[in-house]
């Protein structure tokens, strides 16, 4: 049983860790592949801090003799999915990274002339209907997954951004004696190769989140191994004494025990890798969807195994086994050859150990709490989390002991007195499993509170942001103007143009919107900070609104100044929440936007109309303008689609949450099973004194349920603290937004009941065994024949 527990505990720990590592490694490999294939790692790039680069600028650089290749990048919806579209000049784009069709029947003329061609990796366009695409699509395994490439002319048309260039690749081979780029285009920024791996940086926080979860699961698994290894060595003390009494050197005994532990770690590591692969393969599609949805990161949903992943898994298994077994090995080392017969403990000695542990826990918590003040940043947020979690885990045994002591003092009757006193005396053997349960429950409460807070806030936020009843996307500016004119002619209560331009704000790419002055914005827009008369300031062109991400990253708040484009400075009138968008965003009045940017598309607008008239208006629009059904979306559809993206985001977190709770329940079960041989001599006298086996079995069940219940209660404040750190520290650092914390008592109750069930399930097997144990087996306790 101990062998199985040890191997299974270590395999679970290694498995969950390896699963997370497999996902991270796969995603990073995809980023690197994308960066490599897009030339980010090979070529210097030229970009403009103030927004898109004009074609004139490109022409000026080319005329000066520089070999550069223009790239236009944007997001595009194709067949109901969102992709990064990369338009490149196929004549100047470096051959080694240029897309090539897998089949030879695509000529350069097909690519360069209308309708053009789209290139995508076979994995990217799997299940995509060709008929739903505006341009024929061909497969090319040289295109990174998640990205669609095309000629820059086609991209301009699809993105509706004529004459715009996002960046230029500076080719490796250049003529001699060229004038410096800084002289030709002083406003452009030259970025060296390998310095532009933005995707990797952007998604670092997500991967750090996953790694933290992996580490937590690993730690919970190690609790199991620590407990089991300790017990296994404890029970072999007699054998070790005998061997030493027979003249076997202590060093040899220690080496043999370590070799044994190492072999077990290798076996468990192998099992863990298999388990890790299965978990990673199951979770990766959702992770890929999350990364694509949140960051537009090109991650494939399929898993390829890396040698370093194997090495890391086995290494963690060995290190984990050694870490978990060190304490037990140390005790064997200190074991005297001769010793008094073992005596069951009252728990007096453990009370002192609990106090020491709790002191260490307080120190860890204080260290964690001081980190954000001293260091700041995402890593310090995680140090704070780790300090809180581990500190609380270390304080748990003392807290439990005190709670049980309080109850014990009020207990009436011999059985109740024994039950509570016995419960307290069992804490040393069960404390590791209970710590694991505390961590799992607190994580569930913390992450659950975060996710539910997010869901609630996001739902409310969508209601505010998506106030228009219909959202229309015309096929061209001309069509857009015709529709707007028709709508304004008494068909709708109001038409709210959605017009935007791409720019750079505070050295980050950002999108700037122009809006008309309307009650829809004044009444609904979710502002989190603002100056007085904020909407008047926006309407008269003296104020700009920025999103929370931009505000937090640039530490820009109402009253501060910001430069939305070169030579244009505005006062920030307000900051609005903007969940689910990694980039910066700003809002000015529409006339101001149009005066600052040329060629702003006029294809999208929202329509205000009474909800009961909306379906009729939609039908009329489709009929009168021969629009495709996808051109008009109603409020509910967009909300559903947005919520679906966010639900997917938390699928992985939810799955890891459940796995961690499962591991913790398993920890209790293994502790109870491994303690079984020690428990029987404590229960048999009770039976001899007149308690039935059935009653004892029920009390055993109750013992586990009570411990899980009290641990569940103690996990609540820890879980809420965890939720606060996630919402107020980790989220802000990771995504740039801060969410209000909502409380969900019913969820806590459900989780607490789940903890009680976990305790009951874990104790069910030992209790059943006790209930069915024949008297002869119990009598062996008294006969000393065991």
């Amino acid at each position: 049983m101990q062998l199985a527990t040890l191997v299974l505990g270590l395999a679970l720990a290694t498995g969950l860790w390896s699963a997370v590592q497999a996902i991270n490694t796969q995603a990073r490999e995809n980023y690197a592949e994308a960066a490599e294939r897009l030339g980010i790692n090979r070529f210097a790039t030229l970009s403009s801090p103030s927004g898109p680069i004009a074609v004139d600028t490109y022409v000026r650089i080319r005329r000066a003799g520089w070999q550069v290749s223009p790239v236009l990048e944007g997001r595009i919806g194709l067949a109901g999915r969102s992709f990064t579209l990369l338009g490149v000049d196929v004549l100047t784009y470096p051959m080694e990274i240029a897309p090539q069709a897998d089949e030879a029947d695509v000529s350069p003329a097909d690519v360069l002339t209308a309708p053009g061609r789209l290139f995508a990796h076979p994995d990217t366009i799997r299940n995509t209907e060709q008929a739903a695409l505006p341009v024929p699509l061909v497969t090319s395994d040289r295109v990174p997954r998640g990205i669609v490439m095309t000629d820059i002319g086609t991209a301009e048309r699809l993105l509706d951004r004529p004459g715009q260039i996002s960046r230029m690749l500076v080719l490796a081979s250049q003529p001699r004696d060229l004038p410096p780029l800084s002289d030709i285009v002083p406003t452009l920024k030259l970025t060296a190769p390998r310095a532009g791996d933005d995707l990797s940086r952007l998604t670092d926080s997500f991967h750090l989140n996953l790694t933290a979860f992996g580490l937590l699961s690993f730690a919970v698994g190690l609790f199991i191994v620590h407990g089991t290894a300790g017990l296994a060595f404890e029970q072999r003390r007699g054998m070790v004494r005998t061997l030493r009494a027979l003249g076997v050197p202590l060093g040899l005994v220690m080496r043999l025990l370590m070799v044994e532990l190492g072999i077990l770690a290798l076996v468990a590591g192998g099992l863990g890798l298999v388990l890790g692969y299965v978990v990673a393969a199951a979770l990766l599609p959702d992770v890929a969807a999350t990364l694509r949805g949140l960051y537009g990161a090109p991650v494939s949903g399929s898993l390829r195994l890396q040698p370093e992943w194997f090495a890391s898994g086995i290494g963690m298994s060995l290190a984990g086994a050694l870490a978990a077994g060190t304490h037990a090995l140390w005790q064997v080392r200190r074991l005297p050859i001769l010793t008094a017969p073992g005596q069951h403990s009252s728990g007096l000695a453990s009370e002192t150990a609990f106090r020491r542990q709790a002191q260490a826990g307080v120190a860890m918590m204080l260290f964690g709490l001081s980190c954000p003040w001293l260091l700041g940043g995402l890593v310090s947020g995680f140090v704070l989390l780790a300090g809180l979690m581990l500190g609380a885990a270390l304080m748990l045994p003392l807290a439990l002991s005190r709670v049980l002591s309080l109850i014990e003092n009020r207990a009436q009757g011999a059985l109740a007195e024994w039950f509570w006193a016995d419960l307290r005396s069992q804490l040393p053997g069960l404390s590791l499993a209970l710590m694991a349960l505390l961590l799992a429950l607190a994580t569930n409460i913390g992450v659950g509170t975060m996710v539910s807070s997010f869901r609630l806030t996001f739902g409310g936020w969508l209601d505010q942001r998506l106030a228009s009843e219909l959202y229309i996307t015309a096929r061209s500016n001309e069509e857009g103007r015709r529709i707007e004119s028709w709508l304004s002619d008494g068909q709708a209560d109001a038409v709210l143009p959605i017009r935007h331009a791409e720019t750079w704000i505070v050295n980050q790419p950002a999108r700037i919107y122009g809006i008309v002055d309307h009650a829809t914005y004044r009444d609904n827009w979710p502002l989190i900070a603002s100056l007085p008369s904020v909407w008047d300031r926006v309407a008269d062109g003296t104020g700009i609104l920025i999103n929370e991400q931009l505000a937090r990253r640039g530490d820009l708040w109402p009253g501060d100044s910001v430069t939305p484009a070169a030579g244009w400075t505005m006062t920030i009138a307000g900051v609005y929440s903007d969940y689910g968008n990694p980039d910066g965003q700003a809002i000015v009045s529409l006339p101001l936007l149009l005066s600052r940017f040329d060629g702003v598309p006029a294809r999208q607008f929202g329509v205000r109309i009474s909800p009961d008239r909306a379906p009729m208006l939609k039908d009329a629009l489709l009929r009168n303008f021969d629009l495709p059904a996808s051109a008009i979306a109603n409020q509910a559809e967009i909300k559903d689609r947005s919520i679906a993206v966010f639900e997917k985001t938390f699928v992985v977190t939810g799955a890891l949450n459940v796995l961690t709770l499962g591991v913790a329940s398993f920890a209790i079960l293994t502790s109870l099973l491994t303690l079984w041989t020690m428990r029987l001599p404590q229960l048999a006298p009770l039976w001899a004194l007149g308690l039935t086996r059935r009653k004892l079995a029920r009390l055993e069940l109750l013992r586990s349920v009570v411990l899980a219940g009290v641990t569940g209660l103690l996990a609540l404040p820890l879980g809420l603290a965890l939720a606060w750190v996630l919402l107020a520290v980790i989220n802000v650092e990771s995504f740039g937004w801060r969410l209000p914390m909502h409380l969900f008592p019913l969820d806590w109750l459900r989780l607490w009941l789940l903890a009680l069930c976990a305790g009951a399930i874990a104790a069910a097997l030992p209790a059943r065994r006790l209930n069915r144990m024949p008297p002869s087996a119990l009598l062996k306790v008294f006969a000393d024949e065991r």
Binding site: Q343, H344, S345, A414, A421, P685, A688, G690, L691
Partner: protein, 218 residues
């Protein structure tokens, strides 16, 4: 007759066969009487004690306690028997480690609903445990623990006290002192004592001495 063991047999499974331990064992014990049972190791002394205390079942024969047959008793009734008229003292003592000396002393009596605080207080003095009431078993010497185990059984005020090598782990002087105390207590309370021992010296101090050999009592 308080205890009447009638032609009891008991076998244990050994590999593919069975090994007879008791083969028609018979004995009787009157109220307030003391009886020693001796025999070689593995002769079945402890087994007979376990049968009498309703801890284990027998294959055939009957055991009557105060005229009541034990074989038809349910698990719950047997447990009630051990909380009432019958009490045991084990060689390993089996005190409850999480309870104090005082709690251990009162535990069995409280389980059986027979707690008498004045009696417990008297026992503390008579057992020489004054000042040790709030200590835990691990903080006591072997002799002190043995006295607590005996006190726990006596506090129940059973009609029959069963003792399995109660002084087996003690030196001769301490063993004599503990035995003196036990005999004193059972005689004072009118309790019958059925004691299993290896020691002829201890057996000689009982009212009667029986020997178990080849599964039979002589």
């Amino acid at each position: 007759m308080l205890l009447d063991v009638q032609n009891v047999t008991k076998t244990y499974p050994v590999a593919d066969s069975t090994r007879p331990v008791l083969d028609g064992a018979c004995l009787t014990l009157g109220a307030g009487e003391t009886l020693a049972l001796t025999g070689e190791s593995g002769s079945g002394k402890s087994t007979l004690l376990h049968l009498v205390s309703a801890l284990d079942g027998f294959d055939s024969g009957e055991i009557l306690l105060d005229g009541m047959a034990m074989s038809p008793l349910s698990d719950v009734q047997k447990a009630a028997l051990r909380r009432g008229p019958v009490a045991l003292v084990f060689q390993q003592l089996n005190l409850i480690p999480s309870l104090t000396v005082l709690q251990n002393l009162a535990f069995h009596a409280r389980l059986g609903g027979r707690e008498d605080p004045r009696q417990i207080a008297g026992l503390v003095d008579r057992l020489g445990l004054a000042g040790l009431e709030n200590r835990y078993p691990e903080q006591l010497s072997g002799g002190q623990q043995q006295r607590v185990a005996i006190g726990r059984a006596i506090a129940l005020r059973p009609r029959l006290l069963l003792a399995d090598e109660p002084t087996g782990n003690l030196d001769e002087t301490t063993s004599d002192a503990v035995l003196d105390l036990m005999l004193d207590l059972v005689r004072g309370a009118g309790t019958a004592l059925f004691l299993v021992t290896h020691s002829p010296r201890i057996a000689a101090r009982m009212d009667r001495h029986l020997v178990l050999k080849n599964g039979r009592i002589t």
